[in-house]
Symmetry: C2
Subunit: 345 residues, 2 copies
DNA sequence: CGCTCTCGTGTAATCGTTTACATGCACTGT
DNA sequence: ACAGTGCATGTAAACGATTACACGAGAGCG
C-alpha cells in the first residue's frame, strides 16, 4: 500500500470534497441559478431542466450548504428553544411537541439550557442577534438581556406579562381554582397549598387560583396553610415533615406540581399517615409518574405535547409573516386518582 | 405622529440593521482583519488596537454573523444530537450533561428526535453532510443512511458495534450480571427477566449479562422465564398480568429498565402480591422515580449526566483533532432499595 | 408583420466573515 | 550600515448559495 493511499482514513475515495451547486450545474448543463430555482421554486423551471438537475443532484449526492444559504437569504430555518432546566422531565414532552411541529415546517431546533447562568443567557442572546436562529421559544418565564433581538419570540407555559409577545399556556389560575374547589367538594375545610418558587409568574397564577377556589367554596384563606416550595421532590419531603410535626394537620394538600406532591406523599406515608384516608394529596402537571406512584396521584393534567405543538405553530405563523394569536390557552383537566378522598366526618 | 414614524414597529430607532464587522472596523479605525483577529486571536493584536476594537464592539453592539463565519471557516460550532424519542425521560439528564459540556467548549446543540421516521433520518443526514454541524452524538443505536457524513460521530449509551466510532456507555452486560447475582444471593432460584425490544444492541448485552449471572450463581437458564418487553410502562403491566395468571411464579423479576419494573410492580401489587415479600422486582437505569414509587425500586444506577458529559468530551476531542478514546465505560452501581428481599425459604 | 407579454434561463452581485499574503516598521547582530 | 527577523496591520480573495436584472425566444394579438 502506498503512502498516498494510506492517509486520509484509509479506503475512503480520496477526499470527496462535498459537492457544490456549481458541480450540479455543470453536470446538468445549466447555470447555478437554475439549480437553485429547481430546488426552491420548481414551477419556475422547465420540466426537462428540473429533471436533469434532480438527476445530477442524486448522482453526486449534492446537499445545499446551509451556511451559504443562511448568509445570503438571511433565514436560518432554525429555532432556539430556551428552557430553565433540560434535566426536568416536565419539559421533555413539550420539547417533543415543539420538535415535531417545527420539523414538519422544515425548521430545526437548537436547545438552550439556561441553568441559571448569565453567561448562557449572553450566548443565547447572541444566537438570536447573530441570525443563527429565525425565532425563539421561551420556556423560562422571562425575556433576558432585553432580548429584543429583532426576531419573533413566544412565551410557552410560563407567561411573561411584561413582554408583548404571544403567550401559550394553560389557564393556571382557573385550573388551580378548580382543583381547590374539587377538594372542598370532598368535604375538606382545611386545604393546604404548597407553592412553587416565589416570584414565579406561573406560581402567582396558581396561588391566586387556590385563593379563588377557597373563596368560591366559602372557605377562609389561612396563611398558615401555605407552604413554600420550589417544585422539587425534596421540597415536598420537607413540607411533609413539617406537616407530620405540627398540631392540627390539614385535611388536604394541594401541591403546585407533581414532584412536590409525590415527595410529600411518600413522607406522609412513611410517617404513618394513610393517603387518602387520613389526608388527601393533589398535584399539578400530570407527569408520567403521577399515575404509577402509590397511591396514584390526583392532579391537573396539562396537555404538554399539545402545548409544544401550539407554541411552535404560533411561532411559525410569526416567521411566515402571518398574524399570530397573542394568547393561546389550552384546556386542563382534573384527573381524579386515588390520592384524594372524602374528608373524615 | 407621522406615517414614517409609525411604521417599523413604533418607537424602534428606525431599522437598526445589525452591525457588521465593517462597521466595527470603521469605528475603531482598523481593518476588518484586525477586528476578526482581535476576537479570534487576541494575542496577535496590539493591546491598543484590541482595546479600540472591543470598545467599538460594545458601543454598537456587534455580534458576529455565524453563517458567514461558518461559510468561511467550514466550522459551525454546532453538534447534532440524535435520539430515538425526545419524550423519553431517560434522555433528559443525558442531554443536560451533553449540553453543559458542549457549551463550555463554545458549541451549541441541535436536537434531532428520530421518532422512527425515515424522513427525519434523511434530514438529519443532510444536517451532517451540509456542514450544518461539526459532529454528531448518536443515542439511537444505529448509524443511519450510511451516515459517513465525513464528520466525527460517537455512539452514546447504545453501542453500535458495526460502526468504527467511539462508544461511550456503561458495561450493560456486567451490570446485568451483577444484578442477577445479587438476586441469586438473596436466595432466589427462579429469576425471571423482562427484555427490551428485540434486536436492540443494548438489550442483547443485558440479556447476556442476565445469563452470565445465572451461570455464575449456578442456576440454569429457563427460556420460560424470559418475557418480551419494549421498555414501556405498559409492557411491564402486561408481563405482570402474565405472571399473575400463571402457575409457579418466579421469586424475582429483573426488568431491563425501570419503567417496565414500575409497571410490573403496580400490577403485581394490584393483583394482591406483596413486593418484596412475595416477589422481588429490580430495574435498570435508576430514573428519578425509581426512588419514589412504592416500594422504592432496587435498580442499576447509570450515571446519566456523566455519560452525557463523557460523550460530549470525546466528541470534542475528535473535533479538536485530538486522539479520542475508542471506548469509554462508566461504572454502574446497584442501588438496593425496598423492592427486593430474601427469598421465602 | 411588429408589438407586447410571458417564460425559462444565464450573468454576476451580494451576504459577512476568515485568512493567505504582502507590507512596513522596529529591532538585532555582525 | 545592512541583511535578517518578527510583529502588527492591511488588502483582497475566498466560502457557496440566492436573486435582481437582462436577455432571447415564442406566443398572442391587432
Amino acid at each position: 500500500m502506498s503512502d498516498a493511499a494510506r492517509d486520509e482514513s484509509a479506503a475512503e475515495e480520496a477526499l470527496p470534497r462535498a459537492a457544490r451547486i456549481q458541480d450540479v450545474a455543470r453536470l446538468a448543463a445549466v447555470s447555478t441559478a437554475t439549480v437553485s430555482r429547481a430546488l426552491a421554486h420548481p414551477d419556475r423551471v422547465s420540466p426537462e431542466a428540473r429533471a436533469r438537475v434532480m438527476a445530477a443532484i442524486a448522482q453526486i449526492g449534492y446537499v445545499p450548504n446551509p451556511a451559504a444559504r443562511t448568509l445570503r437569504s438571511q433565514k436560518s430555518r432554525m429555532v432556539l428553544v430556551v428552557l430553565p432546566n433540560l434535566g426536568n422531565i416536565f419539559f421533555s414532552k413539550i420539547l417533543r411537541g415543539i420538535e415535531e411541529t417545527l420539523f414538519e415546517a422544515g425548521y430545526g431546533m437548537i436547545i438552550g439550557d439556561l441553568d441559571g447562568s448569565p453567561e448562557k443567557e449572553a450566548r443565547f442572546t447572541a444566537f438570536m442577534a447573530g441570525g443563527q436562529v429565525d425565532g425563539a421559544i421561551l420556556l423560562n418565564g422571562h425575556v433576558f438581556s432585553e432580548a429584543r433581538a429583532g426576531i419573533p419570540l413566544i412565551a410557552l407555559c410560563e407567561a411573561i406579562p411584561e413582554a408583548a409577545i404571544p403567550q401559550i399556556e394553560v389557564d393556571n389560575r382557573a385550573a388551580a381554582q378548580a382543583m381547590t374547589e374539587y377538594l372542598a367538594a370532598l368535604g375538606h375545610r382545611r386545604i393546604a397549598y404548597v407553592c412553587g418558587p416565589a416570584g414565579n409568574v406561573l406560581e402567582r397564577e396558581r396561588l391566586r387560583g387556590y385563593r379563588d377556589g377557597l373563596a368560591a367554596a366559602g372557605l377562609a384563606f389561612d396563611p398558615g396553610l401555605v407552604f413554600p416550595g420550589d417544585y422539587s421532590l425534596e421540597a415536598g419531603v420537607q413540607v411533609g415533615e413539617g406537616i407530620l410535626a405540627r398540631e392540627g394537620r390539614p385535611g388536604a394538600v394541594f401541591c403546585s406540581n407533581d414532584e412536590m406532591a409525590i415527595g410529600l406523599m411518600r413522607t406522609l406515608i412513611s410517617g404513618g399517615l394513610r393517603v387518602p384516608q387520613d389526608i388527601s394529596v393533589a398535584g399539578f402537571d400530570d407527569i408520567e409518574f403521577a399515575a404509577v406512584v402509590e397511591p396514584p396521584l390526583t392532579t391537573v393534567h396539562q396537555p404538554r405535547r399539545e402545548l409544544g405543538q401550539a407554541g411552535a405553530a404560533v411561532l411559525l405563523d410569526l416567521l411566515a409573516g402571518r398574524k399570530a394569536q397573542p394568547r393561546v390557552r389550552l384546556p386542563t383537566e382534573i384527573i381524579v386518582r386515588a390520592s384524594t378522598g372524602p374528608a373524615r366526618s
